[in-house]
Amino acid sequence: MSDFLRDYLTVGIFGLVGAGLVGLLLGVGSLLRPTRPQPEKYINYESGVDPVGSQWGQSQVRYYIFALLFVMFDVEAVFIFPFATRVDAYGWFGLVEMVVFIVILALGLLYAWKKKVLRWV
């Protein structure tokens, strides 16, 4: 296997180690901890009173529009990073191109701002 793939294999291994640590601790815990089930213990916590209505009650997600903006800016970050590593190589030409790119994005943010999207609705 090439070094390149081995490096990414290490990334996978680290993820498994993280999950393994959780499994290990929970496994050790299951040997040590007591189990005395009582129905009251398994009621959802709602400040000490009996829960009311559905547990997945409807609530207003006020910032879903931010999620859309986030997608836009995150994609932009993907484009900025490769350029950022090569700023020297492109010189003034690349700089002007990038300024145009970022200004267009900033205009997008400004538009959202003026449209009161960033306000708490």
Binding site: M1, R6, D7, Y8, T10, V11, I13, F14, G15, L16, V17, G18, A19, L21, V22, L25, L26, G29, S30, L32, R33, P34, T35, Y42, I43, N44, Y45, E46, S47, Q55, W56, G57, S59, V61, Y63, F66, A67, L69, F70, F73, D74, A77, I80, F81, A84, T85, R86, V87, D88, G91, W92, G94, L95, M98, V99, I102, A106, L109, L118, W120
Partner: protein, 341 residues
């Protein structure tokens, strides 16, 4: 250079042991030094003193206590997702450390995508938190989970954009390369102490630390776990050992982000005047990085214990109307200066 060549599986065993230390040591250190002791001193009390000298064994006592707690899963909860959430949160913490360099030959992987990969992997924890909030089947947990998701994505952008400034200066995404660039850098022709990017990227450092604070849901940005209104948010229904796992995840991530900030802005494992290829740095490097990490951690927790909580709308407005615009301006200024000089 290592004298003995190790095969891949041997290296992997060392790396696995290394990452366990790199996760547990900062997590334990942060909790003891900052959460137990620093917070106590700031509030004119002593903190834990009974277990071991100056209460230094308190952490072991805590873990022992949590191991013995009964495992309670609410009956209405979505059991499979409820069990899954801690795995995702802790796995994302471990993945964050994959690209960290600790010395010239002491690193887990020397990936060229470096910091970009770390930023990407760090955002996996959002999914774990959202799952935890949803699966608990509790109103507090649901609201907390949604708030956390909204906050984490809002502050991920300033964080990523703050990193861009450093990448422009260093000209590479590789963290080892960023350390080298700071060590061999010059400030207006003066190369004595190198160029720790905190000097030229002060705005970036400020934005990065603020965003870190929010990503960790530490106090000025702790709306998702605001105890006075939604109990503890997405971890309300998690008790005993599963709560401890979220807790370890939170502080280990704080350690990882502090280490990343130290590498990006404070010169990482390198020390001025000491040659980068010096063998001694393989041993001294991790200690130097640990020291710088504790310094950044001190800043994070100082802010945590000092400021009152932001309201949810202030929190979103701060990210979108202040941090993102100034980090965009910072990128533009850095680019112009980089090309001009």
């Amino acid at each position: 250079m290592t004298a003995v060549e190790l095969s891949y599986w041997q290296q992997t065993v060392f790396r696995v042991l290394g990452v366990l230390v790199a996760v547990i040591l900062p997590a334990g250190g942060f909790v003891y030094v900052f959460l137990f002791k620093m917070m106590s001193f700031m509030q004119s009390r002593l903190g834990p003193m009974e277990a071991g000298p100056y209460g230094s064994m308190q952490l072991l006592a805590e873990v022992g206590k949590f191991l013995q707690k009964e495992d309670i899963v609410p009956e209405k909860a979505d059991r499979r997702l409820f069990f899954l959430a801690p795995y995702i949160v802790l796995a994302s913490t471990f993945l964050l450390l994959v690209v960290m360099p600790f010395g010239p030959d002491a690193y887990f992987t020397n990936l060229d995508t470096g910091i970009f990969l770390a930023m990407g992997l760090s955002s996996i924890s959002v999914i774990g938190i959202l799952i935890a909030g949803w699966a608990s089947a509790s109103k507090y947990a649901l609201i907390g989970g949604l708030r956390a998701a909204g906050q984490l994505i809002a502050y991920e952008l300033p964080m990523v954009l703050a990193v861009v400034g450093v990448v422009i200066q260093a000209g590479t995404l590789n963290l080892q390369g960023i350390v080298t660039a700071q060590h061999s850098g010059e400030i207006f022709g003066f190369g004595g102490i190198g160029n720790p990017f905190i000097i030229t990227q002060l705005v970036g450092f400020f934005v990065f630390l603020t965003a870190t604070q929010a990503e960790l849901t530490q106090t000025p940005f702790d709306m998702p776990v605001a105890e006075s209104e939604i109990v503890t948010g997405y971890i309300t229904e998690y008790s005993g050992l599963r709560f401890l796992l979220f807790f370890i995840g939170e502080f280990a991530t704080a350690g990882a982000f502090a280490a990343i900030a130290a590498t990006l802005f404070l010169g990482g494992w390198a020390v001025p005047f000491v040659d980068l290829d010096d063998d001694i740095m393989n041993i001294a490097g991790p200690l130097v990085l640990f020291g710088k990490m504790m310094l950044v951690g001190f800043l994070i927790f100082w802010v945590r214990f000092t400021f009152p909580r932001f309201r949810e709308d202030q929190l979103q407005a701060f990210a979108w109307k202040f941090l993102i615009p100034i980090s965009l301006v910072n990128i533009l200024a850095t680019m112009v200066l980089k090309v001009a000089f």
